[in-house]
């Protein structure tokens, strides 16, 4: 199965001007520019190359933020990785193609402060409290300190 899967993924990657890296047996990685993410995932999903999205992971890799889409089909796993800048982080939403991705995008929005253009629930909070102060940094960034966040949230409650 793996070879057919790889061939089909490679043809999609060629359209997105990138290459497929083989990490291990049955595990592949595509690193793609932000503008090609939506067309690439649309092709992967609509052509039935993969119809299973495990989740979307946010990564703080120093200078930039990474967003990894984890797909699988049968025994093959495919990671699609893209990067967004840290300030005014905006990524394109894939909710139109895969409606089930809505909560995963909200989670990254809460935890890393990435805004997904096209996600209808970007104004809501999923995991963070609604009283989360806007000037606090998103909690999963490496620069955020849990102790400071706790102290600040406690203050907010006391002031209420």
């Amino acid at each position: 199965m793996s070879e057919i899967f790889l061939q089909r993924v490679e043809s999609c990657a060629a359209d997105a001007k990138t290459k497929v890296t083989k990490l291990r047996d049955h595990e592949f990685l595509i690193e793609v520019e932000q503008e090609y993410v939506k067309p690439l995932i649309m092709k992967l999903w609509n052509d039935g190359i993969t119809r299973r999205l495990s989740t979307i992971t946010g990564l703080d890799s120093g200078q930039k933020l990474g967003i990894v889409y984890h797909f699988w089909q049968n025994d093959d796993v495919l990671h699609v990785r893209t990067t967004v800048p840290k300030t005014n982080a905006t990524a394109v939403s894939i909710v139109e193609i895969i409606p089930g991705a809505i909560l995963y995008e909200m989670e990254i929005h809460d935890m890393f402060g990435v805004t997904f253009a096209g996600n209808p629930w970007m104004d809501k909070k999923l995991l963070l409290p609604e009283t989360w102060p806007d000037d606090l940094p998103p909690p999963l960034l490496k620069t955020s300190k849990p102790a400071e966040i706790r102290k600040r949230l406690k203050l907010e409650v006391e002031n209420k």
């Binding site: 990490l23 299973r52 495990s54 989740t55 992971t57 984890h70 991705a101 963070l128």
Partner: protein, 408 residues
Amino acid sequence: MSETEKKVESAGLMKYSTENLVPFGPIHPALKEPEYFKLVLEGEKIVEVIPRIGYVHRGLENAAESRPWVQNMYMFERTCGICSFVHSLCYGQAVEGLTMYEVPKRAKYIRLIVAELERIHSHLLWVGLMGHWAGFETLFMWVWRDREIVLDIVEAISGNRVHKSMNAFCGVRRDMPENMDDRIVEKMKYLADRARYYREIIDTEETMLERTEKVGKVTADTAEKLCAVGPMARYVGIQHDIRLNDPYAAYDEVPFSIVTRNEGDVQGLLRLRLDEILVSTELVTYAVKHLPEGPIRVKIPPIIPAGEHSSHCEAPRGEIFYYVKSTGGRTPDRVKSRQPTMANLPTALEMLKGQTIADVPIVLTAIDPCFGCMDRMSFLDTETNRTWTWSGEQLRQYGIKYYKQRRT
């Protein structure tokens, strides 16, 4: 703006949603995620559901970044109070993928046995709860009595009922106890008989049929698009089972088949989970009889080589997913974990649309969340703008009364 969105806005729900704060969900040792749903009603019918989760979000992913690799395994095991073993298994497999060590064959079989016992325990717990919410207390009592048998076996193997702490990197911490094989095989036979009996009950008993048939309908296409996992995908006919699709532990060496159904309603889910108990009892029996000899563990150094790896396993509720990234240190750079309830939530919201309030407990329990989500709900009638709050028990009583009245 869609018709529903207009209604939601005109009813003042947007304003309401920011003002109505529940600081902490109902907390109970057995819960993993109390969820909070805002239901938009039209008379008796649900037109829109807005979820609110995260009340017991403890920041495990952040905490993992400052703890040693091995400590994280036991921390992630505490993500859930029901399917705890499979979390440490999945995290362990993700980390093992970064090292060059192989898991011994005997350890793989022991992992399979414990994982399947956990599945039986979790499914029995769920069947009992379905009986409870439908007003069929006898089923609840019977099923939970049988669940004790599984928990006793788990305790004999691991020393604990729920948090087994069986896993270690590249192996398991405890060997199977001696002279237990016959007892396990005998108990599995008994449990299989009980599962067949319960299957007969839910197929014939009127209370269950009335409450579950044609309730919570979803099509296969919708479930696939909403990324449903595990039983929630299998009950509409999708072949979605990591044990078969991408075998881990010893699943590639034991013969078994997965169960799928085509009803696409809560009744189908009940049949599916009871059939899965049968499959699990067969798996445990086979694995116990064919347990290979050999070591149960390989010791690995505390520093994990740099790299990234992901792993997914079939938990009782569906696919769980772990992603780990290492920079070659004593602690991980990033650990991402995704639980099945999170993946099944959009499908559950879809199932609720068009149902009556009386069906809410059944449908929400059907996805097998941890039942904290039941304990607090606010209702909003779009016609009268009246809002009120019900506790889980009030809602349960309402559901039972509603169906009694409908019958007469």
